[in-house]
């Protein structure tokens, strides 16, 4: 009896390990494939059948990518756009979140619902109208159009997450500050804002990733001006333009270069990201 139980116990453990390995393989495989393809020399890339390990690994694809002007330009543009979007939406969002989380006023519930509904706003549906605004503001074909338009998805989200964070702070803090004669605005930026640093990091990170990954607006508003392309557009164009003779190894190298910083961020801030992602989804 005891022996049988042992057998099933070990069988269960092995089966479980196999399932884990299968999941891991499924999740990581495309990234692995991109990496080995980027390391393969041209000869190996076109040989049949495709191999799952580079025989003569080389860095020439990576070198080519870093000499590619449009790729570097895209990298720079994406960094500028994502950083500005994060700074703007955190600043503006923190103000709004303070009002929504801490100050009693009429129409608060409606405002909250409005901002929540904005997080579900279908961006494609207003693309024509947004194009008009971007054009009228003279932003078409420049990265300012993206810094501006990305606020449609980062601002409601940062406001929402930070509102729920502001609400969790104890009321005594504000009362003490009030007794000491601080104005509500002083209470906000001298007492509450420093306490929200963890929430700022999480929401900022998620906003950065969302802006870095955006494709629709970048494609629509910067297609006319290659020097304003973000990295997602640059890489997608990489493949589209010369359909016949695609520099496959270079595309893979470029994808790796763009993805690695994100993966490092994700690994470092894993717990926070999951918290931020699930903030709205799980009660309690």
């Amino acid at each position: 009896m005891v022996r049988r139980r042992d057998f099933w116990y070990y069988a269960g453990r092995v089966g479980f390990a196999l399932i884990l390995i299968a999941i891991l393989f499924y999740v990581v495989f495309p990234f692995y494939w991109a990496l080995i393809s980027a390391l393969k020399p041209e000869v190996e890339l076109i040989s049949t059948p495709a191999t799952f390990w580079p025989k003569n690994p080389t860095l020439q694809n990576f070198q080519a990518v870093f000499q590619n002007g449009s790729f570097l330009r895209g990298l720079l543009n994406s960094t500028i756009v994502a950083s500005c979007v994060v700074a703007l939406s955190l600043t503006i969002g923190a103000f709004a979140a303070y009002a929504l989380g801490r100050i009693p006023f009429r129409g608060k519930r409606l405002t909250l619902y409005l901002i929540l509904s904005m997080t579900l706003f279908p961006q494609i549906a207003i693309l024509p109208g947004l194009f008009v605004v971007v054009n009228q503001l003279g932003m078409y074909g420049s990265i300012t159009s993206l810094i501006f338009s990305y606020l449609i998805f980062t601002l409601p989200f940062t406001t929402w997450v930070m509102t729920s964070f502001f609400r969790t702070l104890p009321a005594e803090l504000e009362q003490a500050a009030f007794v000491d004669g601080a104005t509500p605005f002083q209470t906000f930026y001298m007492i509450l804002l420093p306490l929200t640093a963890p929430a700022l990091v999480t929401t900022g990170l998620l906003a950065f990733i969302a802006a870095w990954n955006e494709y629709l607006f970048a494609l629509t508003f910067t297609i006319s001006n290659p020097s304003a392309n973000t990295i997602t557009v640059a890489i997608a164009k990489f493949t589209g333009v010369i359909a016949r003779n695609e520099p496959f190894g270079e595309i893979m190298a470029a994808s790796i270069v763009v993805t690695v910083p994100l993966i490092i961020l994700v690994v470092i801030f894993q717990r926070r990201i999951v918290q931020g992602l699930t903030a709205g989804a799980v009660k309690g």
């Binding site: 006023f105 207003i126 024509p128 009321a171 509500p184 629709l216 629509t220 496959f248």
Partner: protein, 347 residues
Amino acid sequence: MAAAPLTKEKPKTPSDGSTLTQQRSRLAFLLLLPTFIILVMVAFYPLARTFFASFTDEPFAKPEQVINNVGAANYQKLLSMMVVTAPEGSKLRDLVPDGYRRVQNIDVGSTRYTVAGTDPEFSESVLNTLVFTILSVPLELLFGLGVALVVNTSFPGRGAMRAAMLIPWAIPTAISTVLWKHMLGDNTTGAINALLVNVLHVIPRSEAWRTNYPLLSIIFVDVWKTIPYMALLLLAGLQTIPGDLYEASSVDGATTWQQFTRITLPMLRPTIIVALIFRTLDALRVFDLFQVMFGYATRSMATYNHEKLTASYQFGYASAIGVVIFILIFALTVAYMTSFSVEEDPA
């Protein structure tokens, strides 16, 4: 209310109390003002502009051209559809009015029904988007739940596993689609074919997945990208279920399956519903996947909209498509929210 910096109960005089309320309201208004201005500029004004343009024949990026009011003509063209039975040997153009073209043939028994519309490309893009949504969302939920249950148990390397699971979510969709576009190819860069033909010997020779199974390819990539994300959402839900419930039920002799159906699923319901809403709405506006994988060869509603705007320069017509997408998504959101009566307050 507990957050009020001063207790409200005893204002010294009525006028004092109202000053404080006024002061607070003014501060709240000032703090919210930048957010409102931006949301008006990036969302509400564009929405209104799109709505009004949808009743015109306004062109894209041609300011010198005269804009005519066309009433509901754009919507009529988008949405007019009819079904006819098509006897063998008959020509479709004899059966339908001018302007109608074939969307899809449906064979019921020996009778062939033909669905015809005035904009078959749009009808097809709607169909593609619906098929994509209806197949991918339940698959993602199902597999996501499976993965969440596996990762919820304790094992060495669990943290690393969770970090790895965030990778598909963190890679930009446009870029992971570029990766998959090559991996699904039928030449030397096609890893999937290499895996299926040379390693696993499941199929005899390379298959042109993207050309022959476009929707399947898209769903496959979306499922890959979303399962880990779904699993992480559900995992967070699983961890809020108190462990005593399981302990108490096993004392009472409940099987693992009973625990799953009687404890896990009911307790996870709110999380599942929220995840479903988010994913369905995301799936209905899918753009990156279709655009990068197919350009405009196989379309979703969003890529069709984009094509009409930037490739056909039909601003008014594209606006009408935008409005249709908006209404569809809005109606679905309301339906979801009311039928599940989701509690929306931040915790």
